[in-house]
């Protein structure tokens, strides 16, 4: 029973992917700096809010910093 956390862009410099126990995100000891007002979250490819988020077995939660393409 586990969920996976992945960190994109500059957040990948702070942490590689993490495997955590299912449950409330608030109970997960996250690497410092991966959450912030400009970081968005995607749960299994769908954008979500961190508030009240609960991870289930097999979930992938992505931490998405500001983007830059083109």
């Amino acid at each position: 029973m586990s969920a996976r956390l992945v960190f994109l862009g500059r957040l990948a410099d702070l942490s590689g992917p993490l495997v955590v126990a299912p449950g409330p995100l608030a109970a997960v000891a996250l690497p410092e700096g991966v959450l912030g007002p400009r970081v968005r979250l995607a749960l299994n490819g769908v954008l979500v809010d961190a508030v009240g988020l609960v991870l289930a077995d097999g979930d992938e939660l992505a931490f998405l910093p500001p983007v830059s393409g083109g």
Partner: protein
């Protein structure tokens, strides 16, 4: 009409892509934009920043291509187009290599100009890419410039 939207892991030939695209029979005009890796000071924009040795575009598979396809669909619904091509590289590129090619075909030029402008503004600051440059042997993350954010905001979506 379906858009040709691709996320490319390997280098592509923009001339060949446009050659095929321009064969569309109903196009009165075709507008294209090619973005490529610049040398010099890179996105940091200063000589002091050092020359760009390489650029890397990262993406997140569950989001990036689906969002590019949705962006193309929005452009198709907003302008009258006979064809639309949106190709974007990911991975490591060197100066002079193409990063992004956007082309629109329309019966009248204004639709094509605006559609390409719209897509590029959204690819720059509202699509799921993360860009970094290698300068003086060190990687530096690049965020959208204020101008990129303002360019995106003018479309109101």
């Amino acid at each position: 009409m379906l858009a040709d939207v691709r996320l490319l892991e390997e280098a592509f030939d923009p001339g060949a892509a446009l050659g095929s695209f321009s064969a569309l029979p109903d196009a009165g005009g075709i507008v294209s934009f090619l973005g490529q890796v610049r040398g010099g000071g890179g996105d940091a924009g200063s000589v002091e920043a050092g020359s760009v040795e390489a650029l890397e575009l990262q993406h997140y598979a569950p989001l990036t291509l689906p969002a590019m396809q949705a962006l193309a669909e929005r452009a198709l619904s907003r302008w009258v187009l006979g064809g639309l091509l949106v190709w974007h590289r990911v991975g490591v590129m060197t100066p002079g290599q193409p990063i992004v090619l956007v082309a629109a075909a329309a019966r009248h030029r204004r639709d094509a100009f605006e559609a390409v402008d719209y897509i590029m503004d959204h690819l720059k600051s509202d699509s799921w890419f993360w860009k970094r440059e290698l300068r003086d042997g060190q990687w530096h993350w690049i965020e959208p410039r204020d101008q990129d954010v303002a360019d995106h905001a003018r479309w109101g979506d």
